[in-house]
């Protein structure tokens, strides 16, 4: 039995659910928006976890779940709670339910895609960069500072520099140019991250279990995810990675504890593989829609323990 957690209409979750239907694999949906119709309890005794999940009046033993796919949104921002005050009982009940689910996921001996603790490295991009570098990938030269003079010198050295958030919030990549220099003094209030721009082809690598799906993205935009906003276009094509690089991606995801990962690479003309970040909750649907790569199928098989 598989547990799918999130909003059922959310595209990646819906795609995995469709694949489970195709494969005739039983599943239960933990629909966050129906939190009032669910209860959950678990017990830990001498290291063994047992418990029950009640969904819409039906009860399931937690030990039955061999796979869990979590695409949870912040439960306090659910539409059902938008009018509820901060201390409303339904808010507290919703939080307690999610709290129980999340802590069970950390302990459950199931295939969890992905556990909360493993996802945390993405909350600090330069921290994750240090882990990425330790796994043999090239990383872009990075400067985080509150000193505008250092930034000017960094720009002088590299000619093309980008800036982006340090945390996972407001994570859009921009080129440092024009008016940015006029407001550079503002960084004195908050250290800011700058990186040397790396020329090459963007590649998104999805790893799931032992499978690797690579997508090449051709674009003139600084951040291909926002190509239209940045006045460009992006075209996506499935590609094969060299075996050694595919293996390195798998080892990186494994070292970060991620059963499913979206790894952002750039392959340079001189054949170096730069790694920018590892997304622990990849919205793979965008890539699958453009390339036809069977990523949702692989996730469903992984959850069912049949990926091989």
């Amino acid at each position: 039995m598989i547990l799918l957690c999130g909003i059922p209409s959310e595209t990646p979750l819906a795609m995995v659910r469709a694949q489970l239907d195709n494969l005739d694999i039983p599943y239960v949906v933990f629909n966050q928006r129906r939190f009032a119709a669910m209860t959950m309890a678990f017990e830990l005794s001498a290291g063994q976890v047992t418990g029950r999940l009640q969904v819409e009046g039906r009860s399931y033993r937690l030990e039955e779940f061999g796979g869990v796919y979590t695409r949870l949104m912040d439960d306090q921002r659910l539409p059902e709670l938008c009018d509820a005050p901060a201390d409303a009982p339904q808010r507290r009940a919703c939080r307690a339910l999610h709290d129980t689910l999340i802590h069970w996921c950390e302990l459950a001996p199931a295939r969890v895609v992905n556990r909360t603790a493993a996802m945390a490295s993405n909350g600090s991009k330069p921290y994750q960069t240090q882990l990425i570098r330790a796994h043999g990938f090239a990383v872009p030269e990075t400067l985080i500072t509150n000193d505008p003079d250092l930034v000017r010198a960094f720009h002088q050295q590299h000619r093309r520099v980008i800036y982006k958030s340090i945390s996972g919030v407001r994570s859009i990549v921009h080129t440092l140019e024009g008016e940015d220099f006029e407001r550079l003094d503002r960084i004195r209030w908050c250290p800011t991250q700058f990186q040397a721009f790396v020329e090459g082809t963007n590649v998104r690598v999805h790893t799931i279990g032992t499978r690797v799906f690579a997508t090449a993205i051709h674009t003139q935009a600084t951040d291909y995810r926002y190509a239209q906003r940045q006045g460009g276009e992006a075209s996506l094509h499935a590609m094969e990675l060299p075996d050694e690089l595919a293996e390195r991606c798998l080892k990186l995801a494994q070292a970060l504890g991620l059963a499913f990962a979206g790894i952002d690479l750039k392959l340079t003309p001189d054949k170096h593989a730069y790694c920018f970040e590892v997304n622990p909750s990849p919205a793979f649907s965008y890539y699958e829609a453009h390339t036809g790569q069977p990523i949702a199928h692989a996730v469903a098989c992984y959850l069912a323990g049949t990926l091989g």
Partner: protein, 251 residues
């Protein structure tokens, strides 16, 4: 130079700084979170060679990784004053940025670092008590029964800490690298404590035990930020040894 990072109210760390100095760890700089938050200049770089930091404190002192021999890290947060002045719409974002930055430069400190920064805690990984319990059971320690239900109040605040009421007498044991300090233990409990530190990837771990009807040494909680004074001189000896690089630390 050795470095002790802590808040200005962390009497435990201030006590440890004096004890480490007395054991010959000199020069030793004790830098508070408040001082760090008022630093004049931050420079943190990452490239093919690794990660570096160069922090200029308000009093002109520098923290550079090439001058550091070892770090006792007790930072749990950084009270950045300018955040109070930020526009409310930007305050949360700026706070996340600064926390993410702290994690990265703390992680870049040269080893040995006790404890190394993690995404779940700047001075070592904080875990929900159900996770500690799971790890303690894996480590072979005697553990109490734990229940959690969605009917319980959400326990974000008390999710960490002891499994026993606060007035229950506990024995605190410390693991520093592979040394176990703090109480006379049976070999299998000593082994379990070391194993728990190993499983939790924590260089300095405080472990509490309470007597139960089943076992006089029942696991009652663990923390990467224990009260160091409870460990006395023996703990300072172990810390000094580990900070001199004489012990292999958990990553």
């Amino acid at each position: 130079m050795w470095l002790v990072l802590c808040t200005s109210r962390d009497t435990s760390a201030l006590w440890a700084s004096q004890g480490l100095k007395a054991r010959g760890l000199e020069p030793l700089e004790c830098v508070s979170a408040e001082m760090l938050a008022q630093s004049q200049r931050w420079e943190h770089r990452i490239d093919a060679q690794g990660a570096t930091i160069d922090i200029t404190l308000a009093d002109g002192r520098h923290i550079r990784n090439d001058a550091i021999q070892g770090v006792l890290n007790r930072l749990v947060c950084m009270p950045f004053e300018p955040l109070r002045l930020a526009h409310p719409a930007d305050r949360e974002y700026a706070s996340q940025e600064l926390t993410a930055f702290c994690l990265s430069w703390l992680y870049a400190l040269p080893l040995p670092v006790i404890n190394r920064a993690t995404p779940q805690g700047l001075a070592g990984q904080w875990r929900h008590r159900s996770e500690w319990l799971g790890l303690a059971a894996c480590a072979g320690l005697s553990t109490p029964l734990y229940r959690k239900t969605s009917e319980d109040a959400s326990d974000e605040r008390d999710g960490q800490g002891r499994f026993v009421p606060s007035d229950t007498p506990v024995q605190t044991v410390f693991v520093v690298a592979d040394q176990v300090v703090g109480a006379t233990l049976l070999p299998h409990i000593r082994h379990g404590c070391r194993r728990l530190a190993e499983l939790s990837h924590t260089a300095l771990l405080g472990i509490e035990f309470a007597a139960s009807s089943v076992d006089p040494w029942t696991f009652a909680g663990a923390t990467p930020l224990p009260d160091l004074q409870l460990g006395g001189e023996a703990l300072l000896d172990a810390l000094a040894s580990a900070l001199r690089g004489q012990q292999e630390l958990q990553p």
